[in-house]
Symmetry: C2
Subunit: 208 residues, 2 copies
């Protein structure tokens, strides 16, 4: 054995994550990463191998720290529509609470992936994986809500097709809200509120 690490691996990754989140992959230079993490190039390269390696660690941390906690409520939350309302409500509140100079605006994947996923297959796979995970979580919450409040009127002709449409609509509102969060924050919040309203239309009841 030799000398021990003097820095906290997780803290460094999160500092880098916020920088990528804020500036994007290309615009975040190694000098910026040194300043943000407090580490020198040597330590960064020794610990992560490359700028891309650090970015990958940042993305992994983002998924585990930011995304999955948000989605967990959809998977294991209440069995009525409140899980969906909580999801969009907390997302809207988080977007509203961010200062305009916050480093965490929008979605790290949306901000960076649009640039990287164009010609980088690994990045594309990460973004697609996120989309699938989001859609699956929304779908789960939607079926839970449907079980709690069975079809309002006539039996749906093709319940599965309706479900697909609803999943896409909600996923679309989530993604586009993240996309324009850095351009027009109030509109991003309005999009998330639109999602909540749509849920209330689908599942009227005493929940709200």
């Amino acid at each position: 054995m030799g000398r021990l690490q003097t820095f906290d691996h997780g803290v460094v990754v999160q500092a880098a994550r916020d920088l990528f989140w804020n500036k994007g992959y290309d615009a975040a230079s190694l000098a910026d990463l040194e300043a943000a993490t407090g580490l020198g190039r040597s330590s960064l390269y020794h610990a992560f191998g490359s700028k891309r390696g650090l970015f990958d660690a940042a993305v992994t941390d983002y998924l585990e720290t930011i995304i999955r906690p948000r989605l967990s409520g959809l998977r294991s939350g209440a069995t009525d529509a409140s899980a969906l309302l909580d999801y969009f409500g907390s997302l809207a509140r988080a977007t509203a609470a961010q200062a305009s100079d916050s480093v965490q605006i929008g979605c790290l994947l949306v901000n960076c992936a649009a640039g990287l996923a164009a010609h980088d297959d690994p990045s594309r796979a990460v973004v697609e994986g996120y989309r699938i995970e989001l859609s699956a979580a929304l779908r789960h919450a939607l079926v839970s809500a449907s079980v709690a409040a069975p079809a309002a009127a006539a039996a749906p002709i093709d319940a599965n097709a309706v479900l697909d449409e609803r999943v896409r609509t909600l996923a679309s509102l989530s993604m586009s809200a993240m996309l324009i969060a850095r351009v027009n924050r109030t509109e991003a919040i309005a999009l998330l509120n639109t999602a909540s309203n749509q849920v209330r239309v689908w599942f009227p009841g005493p929940t709200h």
Copy 2:
């Protein structure tokens, strides 16, 4: 007077536009632009001043050549829901027709702006202007369709709020389809078809 330009200004701008569309702003180097346009640095800088000047010209051309023609059908099209169905249908068909190696995948603004709009106010203004224009066009088409097919059942409690929600839903589906077009093209098409289906639900009738 002196020597005349030997190249077609519009052709050069469109070649640059396709390159930016495909690779993004940062990743499109001047060497790439030389190759794509067939011009040397001298000519490019003489005609456009800088890389950014060429990009701005490309964005302007994109709005006038690609975006506005698409939106014009929403503003001056049929007075029923078919204008909306045409819009999403042609967008879906265009997305489906693109080869996976096409240089025109997704939306130039979505692909580039996510990177630039973060810390560049002019870019942010362009993106926000596009969003406003898209929303206005969708709103116009929605009110036209509503006039043609007056409220199906009971009078809407707040017709304006309903309209806002519908505009946001359709704009969201358009934008998110462009966002993930380079990640999963079939899902992008599915999002656009979801928009069409939603329109059909709102405006049932003999149009379809």
